[in-house]
Each structure stands twice: as structure tokens, then as C-alpha cells.
Assembly symmetry: D2
């Protein structure tokens, strides 16, 4: 960490800072500039907060050299982490996983029917929302626990692992018991209490990117989960908020090579939420695979115009099957399998 001090800082303030950093086990190097002096801190700076150091009025600026994350950092864990989701391996050089299913579970028959359809198309897992984060309190809020039980039935009938979103810590037991991959939604990416809670469970976590989160914010949220004891985190890009109006969000595919360089965790892409438009799902899915994604999570509904939520960004099963076929060809072109 590089700390720039104003030239006119009183010696006692400089000494105080020096002592404080040394007391934290850091080695401090000093360079004298014409208008500024600089402290170079060597050692583990992850417990320091840039902004807290800036509170000192003699500090001009603070520059972090090492990343603020440790457990997620590839520097300290060079091998890829492969996450096991109900027997399906995600990450590394494994087969690219395809997750399909409706935005919301509407009833047992619907999720079982669509579950079987996505399996036939070639999907590896089933997604379905039981607890739904909706902007309006008057919109459908999901079937809740019953929805999870319906998903369990869909798993029984298909043999595919199931994914669903948890929205609050007090429901976590329901998820541990019933679900194979526990999703943290974009709006809860910095719900730190929920992150700590899923850090204590023994199920893998699918961590969606917050709507305006930087990649570093996102990795720090993974670090929360890992620091609490759960090493099985999968990143899921779902688009960020931008000024664009022709898409719901802007899908940021550069996250794939970046997360793979900075961390050792798998990355999957959600082109449904990222674009908000079923017509864009296929090209964006192929692009994600070409960029090195470890998986795709796609909304599939057999009657999108009757879906209880997000039909506009859902593929019909036949389109989904077609997409998987094309995905196989592109995956092969970049040395992977679907």
C-alpha cells in the first residue's frame, strides 16, 4: 500500500502513522518527494481501509497495490476451484454447465413440466424462483417454501440439481435442506449479514453481481462468504445498470477473463437478466462461451406470455434446445464442451 503524505505534515503526525502501521506488523519504507512524502507499506494490508487512512488530514492519497481479498485471490491459490453442485462439476476445464428453468415456480405441475423440457433440451440443472425480489410490493412475491418443495419434486422427476434464490437469513435452513445451489441475488450482493449466513452452510453459493457493483466489490462479497467458511462460490454476471434503454442491463463479458485472472472461482453468465430480451439470449450466450464462461443460466418458459414474471426474457424450449446445439459448436471452437 502506498500512502502519500503532505509535505507539511507535522513530524509527530508522521511518527504516529508510522507507529500505527508498524504496530499492525507492517514494514514501512519512506521516500521524500519535493511536494510529498510517501510511505510504502509491505505486508498484509487487507485489514486496512483506504478511506480510514484518508481521514488523516495529512494524508493526500492512498493507493492499494495488493488486492484487498485473500481467500478468493488466485495469487494465493493458483489452481482453479471446481465447485460440485449435486454431482455436477463447475469450473476449471470441466464441461460448461447449462442451467434452465422458469423465472418463478408457479405450481408443481409447471416446474416439473418445464424441468423435464429443459432436461430434454440438454440442460444440466434446473432454476426456479420460490422467493422473488420484486420492485413493487403489489407484484407476485413467489410461492415461498411451497415453491422450494415443488422444485424438489422437479429434481426427483428429472435427476437434475436445482438452483433457487434465498432472500433472508431466516430461511436458510429451507435452502440447505432442499436446494443444490443457493443463489444470492443482485440486490443482496452487499447484504453482508446474508453473505455471512451462506458462508456458514455446506452448500455451494451462486453469487450474482450487484447492479452497480465493480468487480472488486463483487470479489469482496465472495470473500465474505469464504471468510465465513464456505469455499464453494460461483460468480454469476447478470448485467450492470447503464444508461442504455434498449436492454434491461448491460452484460459485461470482460468479467470472465478478469475473474479468472484475479480469482480461482468459476464464472457463469445469465443472459436473461443481462439483456431482458429473449431475442438477445442466443448471441449473448455464444459470446459468453467464446469469452470462456463456465456456464449459462437461462430463463426458459413454455408459455412466456403467460409467465407470472419475466416472460419477456424467457426462451421457449425449442429455442433453448437450438441454443444449446449452437453453444456446443462454439464451445468446441474454444476447446471446451457443453
Amino acid at each position: 500500500m502506498i500512502i502519500t503524505l503532505k509535505k507539511n505534515a507535522p513530524q509527530e503526525e508522521v511518527d504516529h502513522l508510522y507507529d500505527e502501521f508498524e504496530a499492525k506488523g507492517l514494514q514501512v519504507n519512506i521516500i521524500q518527494g519535493e511536494r510529498f512524502n510517501v510511505f510504502g507499506l509491505v505486508g498484509d494490508t487487507s485489514t486496512l481501509s483506504d478511506r480510514d487512512i484518508l481521514a488523516n488530514e495529512w494524508v493526500e492519497n492512498v493507493q492499494r497495490v495488493s488486492a484487498p481479498y485473500k481467500l478468493a485471490n488466485r495469487m494465493f491459490h493458483p489452481e482453479d476451484t471446481i465447485v460440485d453442485v449435486g454431482g455436477i462439476k463447475v469450473g476449471g476445464k470441466e464441461k460448461i454447465v447449462i442451467i434452465g428453468g422458469p423465472c418463478s415456480v408457479e405450481n408443481r405441475e409447471q416446474i416439473c413440466r418445464i424441468g423435464k423440457e429443459v432436461k430434454e433440451c440438454g440442460a444440466d440443472m434446473i432454476r426456479g424462483g420460490a422467493y422473488k425480489p420484486r420492485t413493487s410490493p403489489y407484484a407476485f412475491q413467489g410461492l415461498g417454501y411451497q415453491g422450494l418443495l415443488d422444485m424438489v419434486e422437479a429434481r426427483s422427476e428429472t435427476g437434475l440439481p436445482i438452483v433457487s434464490e434465498v432472500m433472508s437469513a431466516d430461511k436458510i435452513d429451507e435452502f440447505v435442506e432442499n436446494v443444490d445451489l443457493v443463489q444470492i441475488g443482485a440486490r443482496n450482493m452487499q447484504n453482508f449479514d446474508l453473505l455471512k449466513a451462506v458462508g456458514h452452510i455446506n452448500k455451494p453459493v451462486l453469487l450474482k453481481r450487484g447492479m452497480s457493483a465493480t468487480i472488486e466489490d463483487w470479489i469482496m462479497s465472495a470473500e465474505y462468504i469464504m471468510a465465513a467458511g464456505n469455499p464453494n462460490v460461483i460468480f454469476c454476471e447478470r448485467g450492470i445498470r447503464t444508461f442504455e434503454k434498449y436492454t434491461r442491463n448491460t452484460m459485461d463479458l470482460a468479467v470472465i477473463p478478469i475473474l479468472k485472472e484475479k480469482t480461482h472461482l468459476p464464472v457463469i453468465i445469465d443472459p436473461s437478466h443481462a439483456t431482458g430480451d429473449w431475442k438477445l439470449i442466443e448471441p449473448m450466450s455464444l459470446a459468453a462461451i467464446a469469452a470462456g464462461a463456465d456456464g449459462l443460466i437461462i430463463e426458459v418458459h413454455d408459455q412466456p406470455e403467460r409467465a407470472w414474471s419475466d416472460g419477456a426474457q424467457s426462451l421457449k424450449p425449442e429455442k433453448f434446445a437450438e441454443l444449446i446445439k449452437k453453444a456446443r459448436v462454439v464451445a468446441k471452437a474454444v476447446g471446451r464442451d457443453v
Copy 2:
């Protein structure tokens, strides 16, 4: 709500949509265009989701005319809501409230000492964080319940109401019992389960704006709290994320006249988080008052460079006292009191 249908929509789809809207008690008017037909829906459309209607492939676009919120909407509640916080009235033409205190409670002595200082400066309430949302799991996370008890002591010693942030539903009882104004932080603005939870309590809620939330998103979060039964919501602008690097966030003061036009709830401003820089707090506070704010919440610390968090955006008590004096003059200029 205005729904534009593609001209080539099959009649049976048009009929189906028509029936569906009528079944929800809406009156449907139709106009024929050259390239499009339009449905004009008359009635309560707040339960409809724009995106769900867009799922129908024959729908070209959807335009909401009435706001999607009802309880927060000034159209249905023309008088200002005045929120009572431990005897202090906030909103309407009431005195502008000033809330001061440290970012974090560090220990009982500290919060009591700073509490007395802010009272002497002229503050109306004391703020202090017991549970802290920090980007890094390795940063100080707050004193927790003990911090709340320390704040209660500061209230006893000063007589001022106290404000603190709740981060998860399972701690709400601690807040109901101890705190006068329960804060929902920016990162939890769309933690809908937490919103519902504070909707069930009988304490007023200070709802911070999410980092990239639109004003409408924000009002919908207030609507969540109100729909669950709690009418006492105060909005708090704390800046939004932009590309700017010279400030921590960008303070959006236009929210003041807009929220006062669209809703009947009070609006207070947090220039500490909005700017991240203590030197900017005074001009931004005066600007907020000139724009019509009902209050200010400001971080105050007597040793900012030793603060456990956010010292860079904390005022020293003497600066805080000076700010309040100037605020009184500007408030008078716009017909209010501080």
C-alpha cells in the same frame, strides 16, 4: 397505462389481453394506428408489471401513466406527513432537524462524549453505527448489540433521540426496544425482506437511497414499508454512484423538490456519505437547506483521524457548530428554522 400492440397481432391474442385486463377490473380503450394499435388502461394498474406485459411478443411497448406507488403518493394523500421521532417532529413546515454523531460507536465513553458535544452544537438527534456494513470482511464490523446499549446511554445523558442502522431482520427487536429512528442503509434499500420487517414495527424508518437507485425505485421501497403497515418513513439521500472520482458519491439535491411533489414524506440529506469529504459538508449542507430539505444527518467525530471508520467525512464539533449557525441563516432565507 398505455400498451402499444404490433399491428399484425392475431385477433385472438388481442382478445386474450383485453379479457385479461378486464378481469383485473380495468377499463380498456383501444385506438387504431397505422402501424400499431394501442390499449389505454383505466383503473388501478399498480399490480401490473410493465415487464410481464412486455413478455407478450405482440406487445411493442408499455408506458405507465400513473405512478406505481399508492400509499406514498401525494396524489392520494395531499397533506405532508410529519414523522415523530422520540418527540422531534420531522417534515412539513417543522423545524429542520440536525442529526450528528460518529460513523461508528467505538465505546460507551466515546458515544456519550460526542453525543454531548453535538447536543451543545445544536443537534436534535444523535447518530451512531452499531452494526456496520463494510465492503471488506476484515474491516471493523461494529460493536453490535453493545453499541446499541451504549447509544441508549448517550440518549439518557443528553435527552436526544438516537438513530442507528439495522442490517438484518433477526435483530429488529433490539432496534424496536432501543432506538428512536431505525435506519435502512443504501446497500439494503432493495432487501425486500428487511423492508417488510421494518414495515411491521412501530418505530419510524430512515430509508437511505440505494447507490444506483432511481427515485422511483426508492419510493417503491418506501411503499414496501408502508404497505406492510408502517406509515412513518423518512427518505435520506446519501449520494449516488457516478463516474466522478473527486467525491465518494454524487449528491442529488433535485430529489428534495421531486420527492416533495410525488410523495408526502419528509426528506433529509446526508452530506457526509454523499461527498465523502469533510471539506464539502458545509457547502452541501447549506445547499440542501436552500433546496428545501427537512433535515441533515452529519458525521461528527472529535478525532476524525483516529475514528474507527469514515473519519475522512466527519466534521469536528467546532466545524459542526459553525455549520449549524450558517444553516440557521440560510434556513431563514427560505422561510424555515433550524
Copy 3:
């Protein structure tokens, strides 16, 4: 166009608006709502400005149904436009074009040397900046006219068409005479006088997306060029400004299918500026091709660390050659050639 009028609008205002629209040759349909009345305008509304109509205090909102662009609109020009750049065809089902070269022309020897290198790697055109838009007035501003002449030499030696950026209308003759594809940079995307100027020339134009432009803004800039008489516009995505710090900009690949749906013009991608990091160029290039791009424009330098500008985002020739090989495989997977 759908115009929502406040219910209490005086009849004479309603009549005035009605007459005004009819005078512009539009047909006006009216629906009566409970709280609002609606005008549905049928006809060519491209000369109307939404905001100008909103100036009428009785207008609640304005919703455009038809796109505000005509010449660029695929609805009125269903076939793909194929743009000829010095004999190379761009767009439609043509071969995907690869453009390579340094950010800046540094001297004749450099551009000729790198020109030959990119040709050997398989590039179809050479890029090079002679006039450089730099944030600082103290940074290298390009060789100017001499740089263009050096590029002409590189074309002579390689036979490849050349691309360079024009920054002001008074230099356009230099470009018409010397360059095969005239680039409008991101910072000038809404320099409307420059757009009109390149609308009058008979050379194709490469129109980069502005740093915070929406796709509609961008198409409207193409419309400016086309309305002035030049139909040969190629869109070039170079990333948009977002909060992300690990990349220079955020590359928005959804523009590819969207521009191809809304317009009939070719789309190429600039992964160098979009990411700002040479390590990200390869995965983002493959992603662009998988998403349907008609071309790539990539910065190539044989000594990036000695480049006079933008070395950080330049590929060395050997990496560029490797990228082209991989691009061929991915292109084949989506039914195209490189």
C-alpha cells in the same frame, strides 16, 4: 407517438395541440381516461421532439412508438448494407474484416513496418492515428497531415486500405484524398457539425460510440451522416464508461444483435479501447465474433512499451496472429469467415 394529457387541460389547449399535429400531416386519435386523455399520433413523427411537446404544461408524458430514425432504420431498408472500403466489403454475410495497426503513427518507418506485420498476420486493413484526441494538451497530439501521408505509404507497400480519425471539419479534404475509411471518434460522436461534414463526402465512415451514448443516440448520429447524403456508415463499439475500474471501459456486445435488428448497417468492435488491456483483447474478440460482429479493429504494436500512446492495450504481432487463427475457428462455428 402517444401523448398523455392531463385531465384538467383546458379545451382550447387540447384544440391547439390537435390543430398543431394535424398541421404537420399527422392523424390524431383520442382516448378518454379517468385521470388522463391520450392522443395517438399516426404518421411521420420523426420531426417532432419529445421534449418540445413536454414543454406544454398540460402534457403529462410523451411516448415514441416508432423509432426517431428513418434512413438507418431496417424497417424501411430490410436488406443489409454492405460497405465497400477500398475494395474490402464489410457487413451482411461477407467475410469478417480484421483491422490492425498502432494507436498512433510515430513515423513512416514505424507504420510501414507494423503495416506489413499486420498484413502477414492476416489483417484486411491498417489503422493508425495521425490526429490524436488526448485528454491532456501536454500529451502527444499526433503527427497530423504527415501522419496521413505516412499511412498512404503503408498502403502502397501493403495494398491494404487504411483507416484514420478525423477530428475537425477543416481537415476533411486531407482525409477524402488519402484515407479509405474515415473514423469519427467517441468524443466527437455528437459533434454534429463534423457529422454533417462527413455526410457530404464519398468515403465510408467508421462511427465510434460515444462514451456514455445510448444505442439510440448513436443511431441518430449515423442518421445525421446519412441525412447529409452519405449512406456508408459502419458502427464501431469501443466500450462505454461505467463504474468498473479493472477495465478502461465496458464493452457492450449486445449492440451487435440490436444494431442488426434496428438498422441495416455493419457493426465492428474495438476490443482495445473497450478493455484498455491487451490481455483481454483475445477473449473479447472471440466473444464479439460469436455475437455476430462484422469486424474487429485492434491496436497492434511491435514494441507496446515504447508506443507513443496506448501501448497498454496493444497486441504484439505474434499475439495478433494467434488471435486471428482462433477467430477463424469461432467464426466458422457461427457460420462466418475471417
Copy 4:
């Protein structure tokens, strides 16, 4: 400037960099870290580009300590610059200037009539657009040179200086001859050729902030003008693009104290473009004054609903007069005059 080098950088690369910086007259200090080495550069680093240094693969990151601007920098010019606009002084402790007038000049009678109205209300200068930057090529593009001549007439009839926007370098003579304050619009803030051109004239320049420009970008654009020889630059905040839909842009008032700390130039605020809504102009104007603005530029039209452009954000003269009265009271409260 602080440059962090990877620990495994070959000695010859380190030596090469060292020599290169020394050759530019900079003094280089080195500190050794555990994982990184650091160069601290002392001297004038304004000609260095951060990104160009980053092109060296052994450089991990680059941190600028001194600002990249010199002429605009208050550090080297501690006194306030007072800009004289046709006899009206702007900046420092001078009277806050009020500029009023229509978005577009529509004809001579209109600009003279409105000019007299704004004068009666208390305005110090008249604004009016002759060349209009419009998103659509089909929208009214301004009266051009005739519009400038009409403004000159308005000046003759009122005695007030006039402000208008220049859109291209080839029209600059018209502005030098006729206009008192030459405006560079938001879309041209980084049209560097135009900046250089107005740097060569002897009229003051009103530099609007680009729609997504950071404050540093903006200061660098002022630096372009100053480096070309024109020291009379006034900053004008007109709002930045954000996700908010209830306002046209987001007005960033923190720019006032920041620009006044970092530079010595005056700052005025345009609440019309910043909000896009006449109802918000008054509260935002008062806020701007409370925050320390040196002036306001406001759109005024006596028939906003008939204005040829931007009527939605124009005040009627009576509202404008009322605003000025209130502005006087707020100005007094912060020790200034209007």
C-alpha cells in the same frame, strides 16, 4: 507520480524506465517492497500519461499525486480569476451573475422582447442559441448567423452582454465579432480542436461539463483552452447523465467547492439543462447559490409551450423575477450579492 513495478521486472527494464524518467528531468526515488518495487517521481509530471507508462508490462500501476493540470491549478495561481464579460465581472467575491434568455433565438422580435423581459427581471446577461446541437438531424437546428445578429440587436436594445454557443471552429470569427461570452456545449467538451480554437481568441469562454465527464476531465478541457492562450474560462455545470428518469440530468453541486479548491476559475450553474424541468429550477438555483456558485444561467421564455426548443425547462419571466428575488435573500445569507 508513484509507479509500482512488479518484483520480477528484469533489471534492464527497470534501468530503462529509470533513464527515461531522468531524461525528462524528473528525480526518481526507489523503494523496495516484498512483492513490488516503487518509483517515486519528483518534478513536473504533467507531460506523462498514466496509461502510456502502464503499457510497460512490468508496471503494476501508476498513481498520480500532483494534478495533471497546471494553468488552471490553484496551487500555482492562488488568487481567484475574475473574468470580465462585456463589463460584467464574474468570479471571486463579485456579485453573482444571472444570465437569462430563450434556448433558441426564434427571430429578432422574440430575442429582443425576451431580452428586455429578463433585463427587467434583474438579469445581467442574455443567453440565446443560434447554432443548436440537436440529437435529431430533423429537429430545428437554429437560425445560425442570423440568430447571432438578432442577439446583437437584443444587446443594443438592452445594454446587456450576450452569450451563445459555438459548434465548430470555422464559425469562430462570427462569435468573436458579435458575442461577449462564447459557450462550448456539453457535447463538445472534448472536441479538442474546438477547444484549441477558442484558446486563440480574446473573448471569455463558458465551458460546459460533458455529460459523463469527471471533474478532472473537465479541468483538463479548460487547460486546453488556457494552454492555447486564453485565460478567461468560466466553468458551467449542466448536470451529468445518471440512471435517474425523473430529471433530464443530475445536477452535481459538489463541483462548486471542488472547482474552487482545485482551480482559480469561476463556476456557474445551469439548472435548466441540469434538471430539464422548470418546476425544479428555483430550488436548484437557490441550492447552487448556497453552495457558492458565481452565477446562474437559466432558460426563460414567455411562451414556453410555443418555444421552438426546450420549453419544458424554461421559466416564464414572472417566475424568473421571483427566483431572482429569492436568490438575493439566499445570496445574502452566504455573504454574496445577486
